[in-house]
């Protein structure tokens, strides 16, 4: 089950290895073929050379045998004994007596290259009969010198070896070129894929490749990435929309109770650590139910929207206005805010709410708010205490229902 510890080979290594083996095989086969066919040809020529030498010697040495002249026999064969490829020439007369023998190469060791070559090509001396008057008066025996063939074999093997070394170098160069044209583009695609997976970098794109298949892969991959990027953007905006919807009131656009509670908790934490003060305000619409009953729900909604806008207008940029539900609103005055900030907001709201609100039907109503406030840390040290304090203050300030609706005009 366990995988071997050795890491998987890279594409370059695999290609390089295949290249190396293929070329090595080709060079080896070619070298061996050339060597063998060359050996066959050289062998034929060497044997012909020996036969020619033997025939020439038998022709020139004939009178020496006729006159039984050993010295003349030696002199007749001397020029031939110096021929390359001839190791030894011997002249034997009819009685089997050796008249002359010239050799310039000792027999090679049986296990040397020359020895093997001699065993292969000249296992026996080449024999040419010496003729005189139509009869045979002796023979010439020529032993071949395999030195030249051994040299050829040696050169052939060395050449093949050199070719194999060159092959190794060439395979390396080829692999480097492959790396340029195949592996680098694949690597670029892999790098982009990794970046997309690890860093969600959907804007990355794979570069063009110099090879058609890889280029097609690259462009398909890029198209896929573009689609993914589009999906990602859609998802993000949808998420943003959903998250906004979850924390905001659909009618007024103000933060809802969830968001307000979060903000309050965060503000409390910050104020506690900074030793700063802030304020919470609760606002209730007076007699909102009566407006709903009298003018309809569309009018109630319009009143709520306009109230929300005015609440927002009465605050600074860092402050928060939220709709807690129904006709209840809340405000958070960011640090540093004390009783004077509460007073300023109360005044601003009173002024803003004094203006009549236009209903969709063309009628106008004036809405009043009941506000309760609590200042941290004077009115409470935690959320519950602050909320309770603000609630109590608001309830205490609530007017009687009968005095709450004032009809301004009716069209």
């Amino acid at each position: 089950m366990s995988r071997p510890a050795r890491p998987l080979p890279t594409l370059r290594e695999a290609l390089s290895r295949v290249h190396f083996r293929v070329t090595l095989f080709a060079v080896g086969i070619t070298g061996l073929t050339v060597l063998l066919s060359g050996l066959a040809a050289v062998g034929v020529y060497a044997r012909q050379n020996l036969a020619l030498s033997a025939q020439t010697a038998s022709y020139t040495v004939a009178p020496a045998i006729v006159f039984d002249d050993a010295e003349a026999a030696r002199q007749s064969i001397a020029p031939l004994a110096d021929v390359d490829g001839v190791a030894e020439i011997a002249v034997v007369d009819r009685a089997g007596r050796t008249l002359a023998r010239l050799s310039h190469a000792a027999p090679p060791h049986r296990l040397s290259i020359a020895g093997v070559a001699e065993w292969l090509f000249f296992p026996h001396p080449t024999v040419a009969p010496v003729n005189h008057n139509g009869g045979v008066i002796g023979e010439v025996r020529v032993r071949g010198d395999a030195g030249i063939i051994a040299g050829y074999i040696g050169m052939g093997l060395a050449g093949t070896l050199a070719c194999m070394v060159l092959t190794a170098l060439a395979a390396g160069l080829l692999a480097a070129r492959l790396r340029q044209s195949v592996i680098a583009p694949l690597g670029a695609i892999a790098a982009v894929a990794h970046a997309v997976r690890a860093d969600r970098a959907f804007d990355r794109r794979a570069p063009d490749a110099p090879i058609r298949e890889i280029d097609a892969l690259s462009s398909d991959f890029n198209a896929l990435l573009a689609e993914l990027e589009r999906w990602q953007l859609n998802l993000r905006s949808e998420n943003a929309t959903l998250s906004h919807q979850a924390t905001h009131d659909a009618l007024t656009g103000l933060p809802n109770r969830i968001r307000f509670d979060e903000s309050l908790a965060a503000m409390l934490e910050r104020a506690a650590s900074d030793g700063a003060s802030f304020a919470v305000l609760y606002a209730d619409c007076n007699a909102f139910k009566a407006i709903n009953d009298q003018y309809g729900h569309a009018a109630g909604d319009a009143v709520l929207v306009e109230t929300a806008r005015r609440l927002r207008a009465g605050l600074r940029a860092g402050d928060i206005a939220a709709r807690l539900g129904g006709d209840e609103f809340a405000m958070l005055l960011a640090t540093p805010s004390g009783p004077e900030a509460v007073a300023r907001v109360r005044d601003a709201l009173r002024a803003l709410m004094a203006m009549p609100i236009a209903l969709p039907s063309g009628e106008e109503v004036t809405m009043t708010l009941t506000v309760g406030a609590a200042v941290y840390p004077d009115d409470g040290a935690d959320v519950a205490a602050l909320v309770h304090h603000a609630d109590i203050e608001m309830l205490a300030a609530k007017p009687t229902p009968s005095a709450t609706i004032q009809k301004i005009r009716r069209q």
Partner: protein
């Protein structure tokens, strides 16, 4: 015929040059024999030379004439063995006409007779062999040297080139004094 002579001379020269390269001292083809066997050795040498000689006209039986006082001519009839062809031996008187001879074996002759005999051979297809001309200056083609227990021969290239019989240049290799 003239061009053939030149070719022969060139080949002879080439072979002698070839041989002068290979240093051994000039020695003669020696036919060694037991004492008293001179005639047999001479017969073998004569037969060998005949085997490498070509006459301008082919005859079935070669006529070998012996003239003068010959010491080793007793067994010349055996030369046909080495020559590989039929040979008839006849003795002619000193100074007699040699028209019926293909080979003339010259023994001891008075100098004027010898000179006249040899001069008469000039331009004819006769192989001349001198038994007793150790310096080989008298104009015979082949000069035998029989001394002690060995017999050798020498070729007179001038005489060979003047004659119309052709001696195989390979014989030069075996001739005594060839490198001198």
């Amino acid at each position: 015929m003239e061009s053939g002579t030149i070719v022969f001379a060139v080949i002879a020269l080439a072979i002698s040059t070839l041989n002068s390269d290979t240093a051994p001292p000039p020695t003669a083809a020696e036919i060694n024999f037991a004492p008293g066997n001179e005639a047999r050795a001479v017969a073998r040498i004569v037969g060998g030379i005949i085997s490498y000689t070509r006459w301008p006209t082919q005859v079935a039986t070669l006529r070998l004439c012996v003239t003068g006082t010959a010491r080793h001519a007793a067994q010349l009839g055996d030369a046909s063995t080495t020559a590989g062809r039929a040979i008839s031996v006849q003795t002619i008187d000193a100074g007699a006409a040699t028209t019926g001879c293909d080979i003339l074996y010259i023994g001891k002759l008075p100098a004027p007779v010898r000179e006249q005999t040899i001069r008469a051979l000039r331009g004819r297809g006769v192989l001349s062999i001198a038994e007793s001309d150790p310096r080989c200056r008298d104009g015979t083609m082949v000069c035998l040297r029989v001394a002690g227990s060995s017999a050798t021969f020498q070729l007179n290239l001038d005489a060979v080139s003047r004659g119309t019989v052709r001696i195989d240049p390979r014989v030069l290799l075996v001739a005594a004094g060839r490198a001198s």
